[in-house]
């Protein structure tokens, strides 16, 4: 298959774009594979790609019940940052950020990675103290982080109101310059194309309905398209993690909630970075098309319906207007929801399980997009070696028994 380049773009432009080949195959599932990845979201496809690229495995299938990128990968607001408080989190999220930095070139796919900076606002002295503590912790871990006072915030993002009489006055903020946003579909398609080129079978419209096991070891999966055998099976199904784990007789500490986002009508460039606020509880960025992309917190009830309740949207809208009064007359164009898999300590599970050959990557909740490359990378290592990658080790399932939680709730600023 051809590489994408400036030359190929010119050539195809001249022939009316009639010569672009299909980007990945649509193979029929084989009877067996060396490894099966359940779930064709960002994390599943990244896992398959690194299994093939870094570990030389070729006989891999990614099984997706809908179409790839139709889950949270295609629904998230793509905020990327690595300024988490704890060492374990900083290690995995910064590992991911380093991979993001070179990913477009590596995949030969424009993922529209934009390191435009992520600003976390502090609205009172207590919050400022917490955020400064996080900046220092980040620096000790080699993660870029800065504290800006109110004037510094204004200089970096002029549209923010910093007057002392504002409802939520801005006393300062943290800035991670390497943070930013990218294009969700492009990441999914880029990983899919690169994995397919390495021989990975991407099988859509194939739902896993059972995990086959013998003597405590996995032997394959039952699907809506028949039985497929494999000595290694990895579940990367985000909102459906508890359901797939239950097929292997396992219980997880996860609850699935709707998380909503919305976009405004497009306007001229006004917001040069990502702005997040914990106290007002909303975050916002502007897409290249000019739409404001706005997100906030989960719906608190458990649900699998990929739609949330209106009162959450109302809270989100009032929060954004507190923060940016100038947006008050913007019309919102689209709203949607995804089902996020929330862990009690707001950290993921990247783990072996009591079932031999069955691995779980789950619990990324409201903030897993940013981790996609890092998660796939360390999970592939964990699957191949049947031993956790050092970065993945703290995120094992056993932590809920040992009590060694990585409690990022609150510690890491708004969880996205």
């Amino acid at each position: 298959m051809k590489d994408y380049s400036f030359l190929s773009l010119v050539r195809e432009g001249l022939r009316g774009h009639t010569g672009w080949p299909r980007v990945w195959r649509h193979p029929e599932p084989k009877q067996s594979y060396d490894a099966i990845i359940i779930g064709g979201g960002g994390h599943g496809l990244a896992t398959a790609y690194y299994l093939a690229k870094e570990h030389g495995m070729r006989d891999i299938a990614v099984l997706e019940k809908g179409w790839i990128g139709g889950g949270n990968a295609g629904r998230n607001t793509t905020v990327i940052r690595s300024n988490y408080l704890y060492d374990e989190s900083a290690a995995i999220y910064d590992h991911a950020l380093e991979l993001w930095e070179g990913l477009g070139r590596e995949l030969n796919f424009n993922i529209m990675m934009s390191h435009r900076g992520v600003l976390n606002l502090a609205h009172d002295e207590h919050e400022a103290r917490d955020l400064i503590r996080r900046v220092e912790a980040n620096r000790l871990n080699g993660v870029d982080a800065e504290w800006l006072d109110a004037e510094g915030v204004k200089a970096f993002c002029p549209v923010i109101e910093i007057s002392k009489s504002a409802r939520y006055p801005v006393v300062g903020g943290t800035l991670q310059r390497r943070g930013g946003v990218n294009r969700h579909d492009a990441v999914v398609w880029g990983y899919a194309r690169a994995a397919d080129r390495l021989g990975v079978d991407i099988i859509q419209q194939c739902e896993v309905t059972g995990i086959s096991m013998k003597a405590g070891a996995v032997t394959g999966v039952e699907t809506t398209r028949g039985t497929i055998r494999a000595p290694k099976v990895a579940s990367v199904v985000a909102g459906h993690s508890s359901i797939v784990a239950a097929m292997a007789g396992l219980r997880l500490p996860i609850e699935s909630h709707p998380l909503q986002a919305l976009v405004s009508e497009p306007i001229k460039p006004v917001l040069p970075c990502v702005v997040m606020s914990n106290a007002v509880h909303v975050y916002c960025s502007q897409s290249d098309k000019g739409e404001l992309v706005i997100g906030a917190g989960i719906d608190h009830h458990l649900s699998y319906t990929q739609r949330g309740s209106l009162n959450i949207i109302e809270e989100q809208m009032s929060a954004i207007i507190e923060l940016f009064p100038i947006f008050s007359r913007l019309k919102m164009m689209r709203q949607w929801g995804g089902i996020v898999d929330v862990c009690p300590d707001a950290s993921p599970i990247i783990s072996k399980t009591p079932v031999k050959g069955f691995y779980i990557n789950a619990g990324w909740g409201t903030g897993g997009w940013k981790a996609t490359p890092g998660s796939g990378h360390v999970f592939a290592h964990t699957i191949v070696h049947d031993e956790p990658h050092p970065i993945a080790a703290p995120f094992a399932l056993e932590r809920f028994t040992s009590g060694a939680l990585v409690a990022e709730h609150g510690a890491a600023a708004v969880a996205h």
């Binding site: 459906h240 009162n311 028994t401």
Partner: protein, 129 residues
């Protein structure tokens, strides 16, 4: 948005309530000799059902009392409301045909759509229902 029927106040908007999560998890009686695994099960592990689900709600901006709700989490249909300490009543509802599938009516999920491949090799999506 749900309309939830508080057993004391009647039907009210969801925004008046707060959700208390999975119902019928009882605190273990013999706490002193419980293993770490048993504690983990009680404190952290959850059913997270797709389909029939018993949960607790609190009428936080109303009478402030707790009660149980039976809901289908694959459609959000509320099937029954019953008081704390009572056992869930028998109900029937449309469930997904497969564990991770979608109910035929009421699922908000795009995954219920199927991909159709056109003669020219392009793929597209359409609704099944």
């Amino acid at each position: 948005m749900f309309v939830i029927e508080c057993p004391w106040c009647g039907p009210r908007d969801q925004s008046e309530f707060s959700c208390g999560g999975e119902a019928h998890i009882s605190r273990p009686a013999e706490r002193s000799d419980m293993s770490d695994e048993e504690w983990a099960e009680f404190v952290f592990m959850r059913t997270n059902a797709k389909g029939l689900f018993a949960e607790r709600w609190n009428h936080a901006a109303g009478c402030r009392r707790w009660f149980n709700v039976l809901r289908n989490t694959s459609t959000d249909e509320i099937l029954a409301v019953y008081r704390m300490g009572e056992t869930p009543p028998d109900v029937s509802t449309g469930l997904p045909a497969t564990p991770c599938g979608e109910a035929e009516i009421g699922s908000g999920n795009d995954a219920a759509k199927v991909m159709v491949e056109a003669a020219d090799g392009t793929t597209n999506t359409r609704d099944t229902v």
